[in-house]
Symmetry: C2
Subunit: 224 residues, 2 copies
């Protein structure tokens, strides 16, 4: 299992409603509808993060999100049937942003342990950018909210590729997960488990955020 | 951080209310009051576990526990101010029972990895004896319920001693934690973290309970 609770950097893209002066083709109209729907989903996800950061994830419901975005509740339902689906979408979009931010460049460091340190340092920093929201998501994950757990599962291989990329010193995009040996997969898995347990420790106030990466360092010394 | 959510084996000791025919000394009376209070706490803790197993931890409040034990709510308040305090007491008592069950004998196995396997197998089995309750406790822990987190913290050293005992092949009671080297402490810590993350994985339905110990085996092969 992994926990990937990456906070999406800029969830609230401007929503353009400008009128177009020409009559688009059916295909063009369909793709415009899709783009509009994507933008709306983006705004909804952004609103959920903001509200959760401000009031706590427990207090955020579909009604509050609809109000924050300025949508009728019925319209919101067309995109998300319940709060869990919104949270699942948050994880998916954060993962996409994380892939963009961390999937390309190789983390800094001479040794594998150094690069693993750099990777998890950045990863943790991004995840914990909105601390109250992240705590809420870790809680939602640990209490088994279906859509959150499924979204996290979807991101498992992707995170492992990033960790393996850091170990090898190559971009994550160049890692062919299917061809990785058991040894590399297991190392990535164990590091992710330790990271997750330490994130929970931070989340419930057992230790500061720095210690999460310190725990990874302890493990990296043993594994790598 | 650790997760020690051990389920106490026999929480519902019989509660004797027989009258005594002699007038005890003040000291005797005080110790009898203390014993009665201990028994009452035991019954309360047992009732909380039973109710949580049956209805889910979220649905168990002080009122339900008082009703199950047959106490007035006001009387229950004298022992526990809130639900979190009951949950903290559950962890403390479970730890005491775990110490008794696992602290004495050395776990079976020729190698350190074998003994660590035996220890975590038994540990996991005891912890997951009441699965619904355990899931609730893991959720309570991960969402930072204060008294649960504090009780878990109190049990940290004790669990580490058990793990180190298993590695060395000696009873946990013979392990002087203060004199353990960084290496042993770190190994115990990492194994506990991996165990905890995997327990969450089981708890939210990512994998069956067997895999928790399989994950420990993967780690033990690397560490030991």
């Amino acid at each position: 299992m992994v926990a990937l609770l990456i906070l999406w950097r800029d969830p609230c893209l401007p929503y353009s409603e400008e009128r177009v002066g020409w009559k688009p083709s059916r295909r063009r109209r369909l793709s415009a509808v899709k783009a509009d729907r994507d933008k709306q989903r983006t705004r909804i996800v952004g609103a959920a993060i903001r509200l959760a950061e401000e009031h706590g994830l427990d207090r955020v419901g579909l009604r509050e999100v609809a109000e924050e975005v300025g949508l009728a509740l019925g319209t919101l339902y067309k995109s998300f049937r319940n709060k869990d689906e919104i949270l699942g979408a948050v994880v998916d979009r954060q993962m996409a942003a994380m892939r963009e931010a961390l999937g390309g460049p190789v983390p800094a460091g001479e040794t594998a342990a150094d690069r693993v340190h750099s990777f998890f340092e950045r990863f943790t920093e991004v995840v914990a950018r909105h601390p109250a929201f992240t705590r809420g998501m870790l809680g939602a994950l640990s209490t088994g909210r279906g859509a959150v757990v499924k979204a996290i599962l979807r991101s498992d291989v992707e995170t492992s590729k990033m960790v393996i990329g850091a170990i090898r010193g190559v971009p994550a995009a160049e890692v062919d997960f299917e061809r990785c040996g058991d040894d590399e997969r297991e190392t990535a898995f164990l590091l992710r488990q330790i990271w997750f347990a330490s994130m929970i420790g931070w989340s419930v106030g057992l230790h500061p955020l720095d210690e999460v990466v310190a725990h990874i360092d302890i493990a990296a010394r043993r594994f790598l």
